[in-house]
């Protein structure tokens, strides 16, 4: 190699190294981005079962149809590799993609709007550098008219999106402010736990008072002592968020088990303390149906005759005590008292049996409790393949009578509906949603006309 060429090569190498250095954000920023991405649980929706992290493809059932999550890996062809930081911010906090189209609020950008510019910068750095690109794009979301008109979301955002980042309340402690930021922002608790209005927007006046998540119900987690978590100690809340289990209270199942598994258990103890501190101050929302704290029902009991009564030939005519004895008692024990100091939890003094709303009880019997990212895996096996709708209804009612809230009930129809994926969006609901869409269209048209008139007026002067 001659000298000039050697210099050229060296120069080239130098440029490459420098470019890389400039392109490599510092480790602290990346770690912060990763932590926020974990706290935001992006992976939960943006990964399909068994798929690669953040490559999208999960089909999320919503009342307007199935919304398929997108690839948010830094792939330039299939993901968000071509996004600028500003475009990333727009998507994350304002629900607007790089191509200018609107996202559906299945993406909780109304919560992520609380993130600060510095947060977004860190998350952008993390996604661009530390996430492995995946060059395959999932099938696009296809909703029926009128919901496929993404522009409708502009009016929706105009009505419902508060796009100001979190502003600490100087009157509150640093811990409270940290908790409020996490709960309202990245952890997006309200996405599931706050009830939604006719237009599917969160009813901010009823923050964390309980909402539907597919076939599951995200319970009231306001500070109400009876309906919410007001009688939980801070440490019990932290235990729950860290392990999915709080002794004498309840355990995370369904989407909450997923949130603990993917996200919450990875947060620092200080952050979990902050979340607990904030939750304890959320204005109480009391449900008059809750006449006693949801974790204070029932006590140990057994039906001794169960061992002396032969099982009927037809499994559907088994008594609740018989189903319990055959399928549940090995772990939850003969008197419902659980074992391993609550590791296999008691069924009394347990939110699972204390609520008037019993969908979660049915769902946990059907699906069990599964974690995906740690070795513990199956915390409770599901019985969908072993028990019939009637057996589950019989069992559910027996559990409620013996260990839980005796005013609550489970019906065969309810089990059948939940087993098959929840209530089908029936015509009334669809009609309502269509009306909502039309309202949004009208608002959009009105806004557009007003703006046009203003511009017109401006021109005349």
């Amino acid at each position: 190699m001659n000298a000039p060429l050697r210099y050229l090569v060296l120069l080239g190498l130098l440029v490459a190294v420098l470019a890389q250095a400039a392109d490599n954000p510092d480790a602290t920023l990346l770690r912060r981005g990763q932590y926020l991405a974990t706290a935001s649980d992006c992976v939960a929706c943006h990964t399909s079962p068994g798929g690669k992290p953040y490559a999208g493809g999960l089909s999320i059932a919503t009342p307007v149809g199935n919304i398929v999550s997108t690839n948010i890996t830094p792939s330039k062809t299939a993901g968000i590799g071509h996004y600028t930081e500003a475009q990333f911010s727009d998507a994350l906090r304002h629900g607007i993609r790089a191509d200018g189209k609107h996202l559906y609020p299945a993406m909780p950008y109304t919560a992520y709007a609380q993130l600060t510019d510095a947060d977004v910068q860190a998350m952008y750095a993390y996604f661009m550098h530390d996430v492995a690109p995946v060059d395959t794009a999932p099938a696009p979301t296809r909703l029926a008219f009128p919901f496929n008109v993404r522009l409708l979301m502009a009016s929706w955002n105009w009505l419902f999106l508060d796009d100001q980042p979190f502003k600490p309340d100087p009157g509150k402690s640093a811990e409270w402010n940290r908790g409020a930021f996490l709960v309202r922002g990245p952890a997006h608790c309200s996405t599931c736990h706050t009830p939604r209005n006719l237009l599917m927007a969160e009813q901010s006046s009823r923050e964390l008072a309980g909402g539907a998540v597919g076939t599951w119900f995200a319970p009231n987690i306001t500070s109400d002592a009876t309906s919410g978590i007001g009688n939980w100690g801070t440490q019990q809340l932290v235990d729950y968020l860290k392990s999915g289990h709080a002794s004498g209270k309840g355990q995370a199942a369904g989407p909450m088990a997923e949130a603990v598994d993917n996200s919450l258990r990875h947060l620092t103890d200080a952050d979990l303390q902050a979340i607990a501190a904030y939750l304890k101050t959320v204005p109480p929302r009391h449900d008059p149906a809750d006449t006693r704290a949801v974790d204070r029902w029932g006590g140990p009991s057994a039906e001794p005759d169960v061992a002396r009564t032969a099982l009927p030939g037809d499994a559907d005519t088994m008594s609740g005590a018989q189903v319990y004895d055959a399928y549940c008692a090995s772990c939850h024990q003969a008197r419902g008292e659980g074992s391993f100091d609550g590791g296999l939890p008691p069924l009394f003094h347990n939110t699972a049996t204390g609520r008037t709303h019993t969908d979660n009880l049915v769902m946990v019997i059907l699906d069990g409790i599964r974690w995906h990212t740690d070795d513990s895996g199956v915390h409770m096996p599901g019985f969908a393949h072993e028990l019939s709708d009637r057996q589950i209804a019989t069992l559910g009612n027996w559990l409620l009578q013996h260990y839980g809230n005796p005013a609550a009930t489970v019906s065969v129809k309810q089990v059948r509906t939940l087993r098959t994926g929840g209530a089908a969006p029936h015509l009334v609901l669809l009609a309502r949603l269509a009306m909502a869409a039309i309202v949004l269209l009208l608002i959009f048209a009105a806004t557009w006309l007003m703006r046009r008139r203003k511009r017109h007026a401006a021109k005349t002067f």
């Binding site: 798929g51 499994a315 055959a326 399928y327 090995s330 391993f340 070795d375 895996g377 199956v378 028990l387």
Partner: protein, 547 residues
């Protein structure tokens, strides 16, 4: 005769082996029909039956035989299904039901050691296998991944890839035994199809300690899991279909099988390929039952070896009190063993063995002992606690050599369906007895290391059966001395394959299920090769996804 049923593949027997063969072939796109003599069981009923039984030590209590497909029962008395011709009893236990005998196994899922498959060449005893350990290794791996096998690094059986999961948590008793025997005997976690973590939708073991009557939470892999997987892959199961004859055509190919429904109505099922997987006693029984004018000694029996070379793993044992409280009964029933005596030059002289520690709660045994001794009142309570805390049992698991005189034949007695019952002809030879004698020194040393007192050896000349029914359908290269070839194909019938522990030509010292499953998966691959490229890609994707 009822309407014809037909499939590409007809499998006889819905146990763990038959179902896993069916699953693999159904996954390759074949139509698969599984015929099972026994009924479909329901886990909840089995669990309830066990919970309600006052005889917790009778592991067959939750599995009463059906009138149309009886299986042997010995407690409270012999139901006379498996006839004993002697001179030594062969009281095999098995379950005829959808899911088969692994409804209530200890889930020990061991590989052999390589020398187990060459004992004729190496030690001048028994026979060599028609395939090597190296050939079986990938099939062991596939079997372990399906079953979800937990194992330790130092089992003595070589492997190319790691176990799907770490060993199940060591119970305190085994922890103490391991510590006190350290330096003399390595005590190793058993290789088991029992979850130490969530696996394939099934939970980790939480130590109910009722593995052998029934695992109430499905933490150990059962035949019913295999059946459900086969059904998910498209296979169809017909329960209560008691096959009583396999029919051949003039060329000697299998044309159909005939079964009775419980009402004794007759049904005929045709197919292209037939797989006999009805266990080491029922499979040879069926081949012998299917004798015709062309095959007067039964099908697949040119060699006369069908039903012969019956083996098991006889055990003798020592029970004693340790000098500390170890409290057997927490964790799985069979957690740990000593595996260093499985192979060695001594195999030319006496049987090798494995030493297995029980972890079954001793409360029942000790209670029975105390009642027998006439201990009552306060002394009873005190003694019960003292003994139950300290009692230990260690047994050997001895190899038996294949002997043509040990065999299953058809009895002159018939069952309720009019089908001849199986009859066992069995003896325990000097080779095995010498092994038992040698192992007594190990028993004594183990007791010594545990500070043992009250040593009670099992009765002289008395061997317990371990329900590892092997040898009756032996594989081999020579059609004159074996029933099937190295792929399980019958030497006599091109489209008849045999799967199960019966095809193992020697018994070695390890529980036989995993080897049977591995051989059966190899048979399935031989019948209909997997689409390798697809499988490899899928595995690659999965790994990348986890990274």
């Amino acid at each position: 005769m009822a309407a014809l049923a037909s499939a590409d593949i007809v499998v006889i027997g819905a146990g763990i082996v038959g179902a896993l063969v069916a699953r693999r072939l159904a996954q390759q796109g074949a139509s698969v029909l599984i015929l099972e003599a026994g009924p479909r069981l329901d886990r909840g009923r089995i669990v309830a039956a066990f919970r309600h039984s006052p005889f917790k030590g009778n592991w067959m209590a939750p599995y009463p035989p059906s009138p149309w497909a009886p299986h042997p029962i010995y407690v409270p008395r012999d139901n006379g299904y498996l006839k004993q011709a002697g001179p030594y009893p062969y009281p095999a236990e098995y379950i005829r039901a959808v899911g088969g005998t692994t409804w209530h196994w200890a889930a020990q899922a061991w590989r052999l050691v390589p020398n187990d498959m060459r004992i004729k060449s190496l030690y001048g005893v028994g026979v060599d296998w028609p395939l090597s350990y190296e050939e079986l290794d990938p099939w062991y791996q596939e079997a372990e991944e399906i079953l979800g096998v937990a194992g330790a690094d130092n089992t003595g059986s070589p492997r190319q890839k790691p176990f799907p999961m770490k060993p199940v948590a060591e119970p305190w008793a085994m922890h103490r035994v391991r510590e006190r025997l350290a330096g003399v005997y390595p005590v190793v976690a058993n290789t088991v199809a029992r979850n130490s973590r969530g696996y394939d939708g099934r939970p980790a073991c939480v130590g109910n300690n009722s593995c052998q009557p029934i695992c109430p939470i499905n933490a150990q892999y059962l035949g019913i899991n295999a059946v459900e997987a086969a059904e998910a892959a498209g296979a169809k199961v017909i329960p209560n279909a008691v096959v009583y004859r396999i029919e051949h055509d003039v060329q000697g190919r299998i044309a159909a099988v005939h079964y009775y429904a419980p009402d004794k109505s007759e049904h005929r099922v045709t197919g292209k390929t037939f797989i006999l997987a009805a266990n080491g006693i029922e499979s040879p029984k069926l081949l012998l039952l299917s004798a015709s004018s062309k095959y007067p000694n039964g099908l697949a029996n040119r060699s006369g070896a069908v039903g012969r070379h019956l083996m098991d793993h006889p055990s003798t044992s020592l029970t004693f009190y340790a000098d500390e409280e170890i409290w057997l009964g927490r964790g799985p029933q069979s957690p740990s063993s000593i595996n260093t005596l499985r192979d060695g030059a001594f195999r030319s002289q006496h049987a090798p063995y494995r030493l297995d520690f029980t972890n079954i709660s001793q409360v029942l045994n000790v209670t029975n002992d105390l009642i027998k001794e006439g201990v009552y009142g306060a002394a009873f309570a005190k003694q019960l606690r003292w003994r139950a805390a300290r009692q230990i049992n260690v047994k050997n698991v001895l190899e038996v050599l294949p002997n043509p005189d040990n065999r299953i034949t058809l009895s002159s007695e018939k069952d309720a369906m009019g089908i001849p019952k199986p009859e066992a002809h069995y003896a325990i030879d000097a080779y095995t007895r010498r092994g038992a004698e040698v192992s007594k020194a190990d028993f004594a040393r183990i007791a010594e290391l545990m500070g043992g007192t009250g040593l009670r050896y099992s009765a002289e000349g008395s061997f317990a059966n371990n329900q590892h029914i092997t040898g009756t359908l032996s594989m081999g290269n020579d059609p004159a001395t074996s029933v099937v070839d190295a792929f399980g194909r019958s030497h006599d019938h091109e489209n008849l394959f045999v799967c199960g522990t019966g095809v193992m030509p020697t018994a070695a010292t390890m529980n036989s299920t995993l080897t049977a499953v591995a051989l059966a998966l190899r048979t399935a691959e031989h019948i209909l090769p997997a689409k390798q490229a697809v499988v490899a890609n899928a595995a690659g994707d999965r790994e990348a996804g986890l990274a």
